[in-house]
């Protein structure tokens, strides 16, 4: 079995080093703007999405260099995730002051800079995914498929749409179906796309992509359920962001519907479904299996 702590530590290092290398440099005309983007990118974070991308690639490809080849894709996913946090934290949205234990982007640099840092990170992700300098042997067709998978998942029929529903639903009484739709799109879509884009970059066939889709959908679900849970049972200090913020905003959450115990069981069930989907793969899927378990066991 994989020691998930060591694995995460090693891959986080790999991702952060690649991000530092691939991200724009804070110099020249745009130094202030780039500094603002880099602040949010490097202030912390579990790097779950890029690591899922790398682990999915490793599962599909037997080649040693697959992680190195997928790093630009992995970094693009982290740029998109970071942009979504910056915009979600804005005063007009969730109005959060703390993120990963530090001031949110707009608290540190002002609202205009934060909006533009988000716009810049989102756009840079697509730059990275399509830049010929960063192809690393992936075919143009595979890269275009990755662009489409990520754009669809991050956009209005995915993450952005989910956030819009989440904002609309604040203070309203949502049904469980509505809550599921929000979760699936706001969090789940990009997690599934992280897995799929790693698999696409490694040359997965249709059956493998279908298994990865089920795996991604279910760890995405588990991830959001656990996020809901941690907002209830953790302190702000443990979490690195303001705890209890869902209840304060009257947000529909899994614990609000089902209580803490049943919510935890639902997360475990989703992880089990995700593991079942991996049954077609060899032990090359072990990092994915360990990541699925980590998602439900994590405490922040």
């Amino acid at each position: 079995m994989i020691d998930i702590k060591n694995y995460l530590h090693e891959k986080q290092l790999l991702v952060v080093q690649a991000l530092d290398k691939l991200m724009l440099s804070p110099e020249g005309d745009f130094a202030d703007h780039v500094t603002c983007m880099r602040y949010s990118l490097f202030v912390g974070g579990k790097r779950v999405r890029p690591i899922l991308c790398l682990a999915a690639g490793t599962c599909i490809s037997g080649k040693n260099d697959i992680e190195m080849r997928l790093l630009p894709v992995a970094c693009a996913l982290e740029c998109i995730h970071t942009y979504s946090l910056i915009h979600d934290d804005l005063p007009a949205m969730d109005n959060d002051d703390l993120r990963r234990g530090h001031p949110t982007c707009h608290k540190k640099y002002g609202e205009a800079e934060a909006i533009l840092a988000g716009d810049g990170l989102l756009t840079f992700a697509f730059d990275l995914l399509s830049n010929p300098v960063h192809a690393r042997g992936l075919s143009d067709s595979a890269r275009l498929a990755i662009v489409h998978t990520i754009a669809r998942a991050a956009g209005s029929l995915g993450m952005v749409g989910g956030q819009a529903l989440d904002m609309d639903g604040e203070g309203k009484k949502l049904s469980f179906d509505q809550l599921k739709t929000i979760h699936r799109n706001k969090t789940g879509a990009l997690i599934t796309a992280s897995v799929l884009s790693g698999a696409l970059g490694a040359g997965a066939d249709a059956d493998q992509l279908r298994a990865m889709q089920v795996f991604g959908d279910n760890i995405g679900l588990a991830f959001q359920i656990v996020d809901d849970l941690l907002d209830v049972i953790s302190t702000t200090e443990e979490l690195g962001k303001t705890a209890g913020s869902d209840a304060r905003h009257n947000k529909a959450t899994y614990p609000a519907f089902f209580g803490v115990d049943k919510t935890r069981k639902m997360a475990e069930q989703a992880v089990q479904t995700s593991l079942d989907a991996l049954s077609i793969f060899s032990d090359r899927a072990d990092p994915l299996r360990a990541l699925a378990q980590y998602i439900v066991d994590r405490t922040k």
Copy 2:
């Protein structure tokens, strides 16, 4: 010679019909969010960027169906332009109430919805550029090159970076060099990318792309100079957005540096340079030539 009024009218219709068809439908879970994006997309606009894309494609390709094949690219450019207007108009940015003679997106739908409408339009542009359903015979390699050209131009080393500089510079005394850097990035980059992406989609060679780059850079410059000019000499009614807003925000502009007469001459000179760059092309470049002239002659 081309009757630019008829030409623009015809192509605007083509672009608007394609946008209506290619843009997401305002139904299902995300109906409100999509409605908000569609409002800003269809509230008006000259459709200069998509039309430049189509005209550049026509200049390179002798085939009748090139416009039809480039329409998804053209529409993606308009989505990106519209997102940039929505975010620029936000209270934390230029704080404008009027755009194209109508309430700005955040005035009509609120700030959170406007931020998300911008995020959604930007992401949808890359969805459209990479969606296999909308390939229309363009190769994966050409489409990936278009994604990269547009992402680079729209991002932190282009449009977003230019807007960040523009915000930073408000109320400060900028040098003419700084003003040029802002203009080149904030407006020029996406205009050049519009021309280049049409040319790339039509299979332009390296010499043709170089000519298109010079053409695009110079009409982009002319476009921004004329924008500065119109803000001084037009009324809000003529302009469809708040006139005099540059002066009110103490923004560095061409007229502020050189006065109205010299500014107009500089715009004409930029257009002349752009026309010179087209000398390698046949009369298939006539739409581009007419568009260059229109840019300096326009009154809104």
